[in-house]
């Protein structure tokens, strides 16, 4: 496909669309005063990141992202918003500090990062194009499971212990303290 004289693949169009949705939704997460809408926009951002994972040849991670992030974490945040329902009523001026200062600081950091990223020479040059497709790489679900159970088995088990500790700990923290109980 040729647009303005450049050859543009469908993947590139998909990338531009998905990353545009992701970044705009992320700006909404930060700037929308209503925290419930911000949490819902966070869900949209996370779905966009899952789309980027698909474009990076990691479909299993996209599924994990949607199941855990969109399915669990966003739900948990919305539940917490409902449980602390005074958050719903604060206005924009109360919800946010000086946005210009913060945007300036973040913009300076982004300028540094972008200059560094855009001026670096990446492997697979000269055209910086990914050479690995699904055919000639071993990064599928099978490789992930094999890696989790062979070289990374200790962190894997440690993560399960951590999740158990977090489960118990968050119940203990959120439990209502009854005097005398």
């Amino acid at each position: 496909m040729h647009i303005f004289g450049f050859e543009i693949t469908g993947y590139q169009l998909a990338f531009v669309a998905i990353s545009g949705v992701t970044v705009i939704a992320a700006l909404g997460v930060v700037l929308v005063p209503n925290i419930l809408r911000a949490a819902l926009l966070l869900g949209l951002t996370l779905i966009g990141v899952a789309g980027l994972f698909v474009l990076m040849n990691a479909p299993f991670l996209a599924a994990v992202q949607i199941m855990i992030y969109v399915g669990a974490i966003t739900t948990m945040i919305i539940l917490a918003v409902f449980l602390s329902n005074q958050v719903m009523r604060i206005g924009f001026s109360q919800a946010i500090y000086n946005p210009i200062l913060a945007a300036g600081a973040a913009g300076i950091l982004f300028a540094f990062l972008f200059i560094t990223v855009a001026n670096s020479v990446w492997i697979n040059d000269p055209r910086n194009i990914i050479a690995a497709g699904p055919a000639n790489s071993d990064v599928g679900v099978e490789a992930i499971s094999r890696a989790l159970l062979q070289p990374y088995v200790f962190p894997f088990e440690l993560a399960s212990v951590l999740l158990l500790a977090v489960l118990v700990g968050s119940v203990v923290i959120a439990k209502e303290d009854k005097p005398g109980a």
Binding site: T9, Y11, Q12, T22, V23, A26, L27, V29, V30, I35, A39, T45, L46, V49, L52, M56, N57, F60, Q65, I68, A72, I73, I77, A80, V81, L83, S84, Q86, Q94, A95, I96, Y97, N98, A105, A106, F110, L113, V117, A118, W122, I123, N124, N128, I129, I130, A131, A132, G133, S137, D138, V139, I144, P155, A159, L162, L163, S170, V171, I173, A174
Partner: protein
């Protein structure tokens, strides 16, 4: 053109940098603790994008990027659970979750 996808790596890194900076901005301007947690999730996702991008753009793609991303997602779930439990507890004790006004460790 024998490339499968045709997307340069620095596009992904730029999106990751954008998400990180937006999350950083959110950390600085949000007052409520839940809003700060949302910004933390944004920054973690930016890091995940970078990990997966570097893992799959190597000349021989490695699985380590995806594995580390799985661990980051696990830790993010754990962090969100504990953080929101703390937020709910603070709301029950103080009737607000303004991070500036929470100054006491013990109430």
């Amino acid at each position: 053109m024998h490339s499968a996808y045709g997307i340069p790596i620095w596009w992904f890194l730029t999106v990751g940098a954008m998400l990180f900076c937006i999350g950083l901005m959110g950390m600085m301007i949000r007052r409520s603790a839940v809003g700060m947690l949302l910004s933390i999730e944004l920054m973690l996702n930016a890091a995940n994008i970078n990990l997966v991008a570097f893992g799959s753009y190597l000349k021989t793609p490695v699985i380590a990027g995806q594995i580390f991303t799985i661990f980051v997602i696990t830790l993010a779930a754990a962090e969100a659970a504990v953080g929101l439990a703390i937020v709910i507890n603070i709301y029950r004790l103080e009737q607000h979750i303004d991070a500036d006004k929470i100054t006491a460790m013990k109430l």
